[in-house]
């Protein structure tokens, strides 16, 4: 069944080169645009962009955990662990931004490590529920404990970020700070995703018993994914804490968690970029729907339900379908649409 090798032609080489470098070009263009936007955006939109960068770290780290097949409901609380860690360290120890952010990541990783011990006993559905309950436990501790967490009012007057005497708090520098941290975090997670460790995670999702039998210590790798994901959630939390200057338990509640799930579900988790696509689309939709006010959760709850029922693979699953459709002649496309409609009709 081997494909007969065609004689290499110049045209083919260009085609291959295009295919290989096109994504890189797109990426470079996006990055360049984001650099320019850092200076050009209106203040309000710059704020949205900063939150967007933080959320990119959140969705990417969340996806990292889901590659093992574990869907956590505690990710936002782990982000909160990073925020609280960063706020407390910056305020009481007076350490600089560059030290606080990784320490916040480590704080979240430690909390994540404590979570994963009982969570390993569960899988799939139980994992979801149990992680929700454990996340709530931690959130309730923040609500309850006055010192050092400040109870319901949280922590205020978090020092502004500074690096070797450089003030990062004005919008433009903070935009670039978050941008760079996001790039670094995403790059590291991308490397992990494509490494042997990433493949081990995905193999657990695919068939955990087989993975175990070929020598992959499933418990260890599930823990590793959860703790690594928590670490990056903690980094995102630190960026958020510095951005807002004050945090309280409500920043990390169930609503935020459900939005995180909406981003990820809308985008899809099969590819590395899916959750980011979902985040982009939902962020834009969220801004457009600002006039809807309180009806927005209803709308996004509906979006979540719609995607899970009708497009469980998320937007990314449309990419091969669309590119396939573009390649097939119209007659066949009609035929395909018809079969799709009939199967759809028979399903409902």
């Amino acid at each position: 069944m081997s494909v007969p090798s065609e004689p290499a032609s110049a045209g083919l080489d260009v085609g291959i080169a295009m295919r290989r470098f096109a994504p890189l070009l797109v990426l470079a263009a996006v990055l360049a645009a984001l650099c320019v936007l850092g200076f050009e955006l209106k203040p309000y939109h710059r704020e949205i962009a900063i939150v967007f960068f933080i959320n990119v770290i959140m969705v990417t780290s969340y996806r990292l955990i889901t590659t093992t097949g574990d869907w956590s409901f505690a990710h936002v609380v782990l982000m909160g662990a990073g925020s609280y860690g960063a706020a407390l360290i910056a305020k009481h120890a007076g350490l600089p931004f560059g030290v606080v952010v990784p320490m916040a990541g480590i704080t979240a990783a430690i909390v994540g490590a404590a979570f994963i011990v009982p969570l390993l006993r569960t899988a799939g559905f139980g994992f979801f529920i149990a992680s929700f309950a454990m996340g709530e436990l931690v959130r309730l501790i923040w609500v309850k404990v006055q010192f050092p967490f400040g109870g319901t009012r949280g922590i205020i007057n978090i020092p502004s970020p500074e690096i070797v005497g450089l003030r990062l708090s004005p919008p433009v520098p903070y935009y670039f700070t978050c941008f760079i941290v996001m790039l670094a975090a995403v790059f590291i997670m991308w490397r992990l995703d494509r490494s042997r460790i990433g493949n081990a995670w995905k193999s657990i999702h695919s068939d955990d018993l087989l993975a175990e039998c070929v020598g992959i210590d499933v418990a260890r790798y599930r823990s590793l994914a959860f703790i690594t994901g928590s670490f990056f959630a903690g980094i995102a939390g630190a960026l958020l804490a510095y951005r807002m200057g004050a945090i309280d338990p409500r920043n990390f509640d169930l609503t935020t968690m459900i939005y995180l799930i909406i981003w990820v579900v809308v985008g899809g988790t099969a590819t590395f970029w899916g959750p980011i696509i979902g985040l982009v689309v939902v962020t834009i939709a969220f801004e457009w729907s600002r006039p809807l006010l309180e009806w927005r959760p209803l709308m996004f709850g509906g979006v979540l339900i719609f995607f899970l029922i009708f497009l469980p693979g998320g937007l990314e699953s449309l990419v091969p379908k669309v590119s396939n459709a573009l390649r097939t002649p119209p007659g066949q496309q009609f035929e395909r649409l018809r079969t799709w409609l009939t199967t759809f009709a028979s399903r409902t």
Binding site: R196, S203, V214
Partner: protein, 261 residues
């Protein structure tokens, strides 16, 4: 010393004693078959040896190392690996990637190494070995095919290739030819024999296809009701009245002639 020793192993599920106080030894370089009628406890025994189940009592030793209570990944590390009755594979990956993932034990990577990419050289050596295994199994030409696209026979062969990727001393095959057509069965039989002859791997197999078992195994253990019913070379097994009775049922199961047709 025997390579594999099963000592007084029992496994109970609720009220059912699936394996009852079983002893068995397998010598290095053997091809050993485990057979028995449906529900005889073959698969349970297999799962106990490979660490999928923890035995209710008794112990399993591989080359003198106690395996009891270890997880399958640890047992794989000690040289014991199993395949599955179903077609088991990592479905999002290509054939080569599947085997490469299964080389986990021999290509560990640290978190830092994964990020910086220090393991290039190791990965290349790893891939060479993975290809060697694929060529041996006869899947070399499908290396870049997605695993679920393979035919049934090739998927089962991929399962064996992945087990080989762990570099086992003993390979435990769970119905290696189930669902295969005669040509595929023949090919698999040849591969198993070569694994022992050329790669010096001890083989333990559970199989229902009697032609394959009788043709391949030098020594056979027959289970019935979780106990060892007979043990011996194929010729002995085939003519053993107890075994025939276990498979075909007893002549006098109907008691007196009340029911003679």
């Amino acid at each position: 010393m025997s390579l594999l020793e099963v000592r007084n192993v029992s496994k109970r599920f609720g009220g059912l004693l699936a394996v009852a106080d079983l002893d068995m030894t397998v010598e290095e370089g053997e091809i050993r078959g485990i057979i028995g009628p449906n529900g005889a406890g073959k698969t349970t025994l297999f799962n106990v040896i490979s660490g999928t189940y923890r035995p209710t009592s008794g112990d399993v030793f591989l080359d003198g190392n106690r395996l009891t209570g270890l997880r399958p990944s640890r047992i794989a590390g000690k040289g014991g690996v199993r395949t599955f009755q179903r077609s088991a594979m990592f479905s999002d990956f290509t054939v080569l990637e599947n085997v490469s993932i299964a080389r986990h034990l021999h290509a560990r990577e640290s978190l830092f190494g994964a990020i910086v990419g220090t393991a290039r050289g190791m990965e290349r050596a790893n891939e060479v070995r993975a290809l060697e295994i694929l060529d041996f199994i006869g899947l070399g030409e499908f290396r870049d095919e997605l695993a679920p696209n393979l035919s049934h026979g090739h998927q089962r062969a991929l399962g064996v290739a992945m087990a080989l990727a762990t570099e086992p001393r003993i390979l435990m095959l769970d119905e290696p030819v189930a669902g295969m057509n005669p040509a595929e069965t023949e090919r698999m039989t040849r591969i198993i024999r070569r694994l022992r002859d050329e790669w010096n791997i001890t083989i333990l197999l559970v199989e229902h296809d009697m032609k394959t078992v009788m043709g391949l195994c030098e020594y056979i253990t027959v289970l019935n009701f979780g106990k060892k019913l007979a043990e011996g070379v194929p010729a002995e097994i085939v003519s053993n009245p107890d075994v025939i009775e276990a498979y075909l049922g007893s002549e006098d199961i109907l008691g007196d002639d009340e029911f003679a047709a």
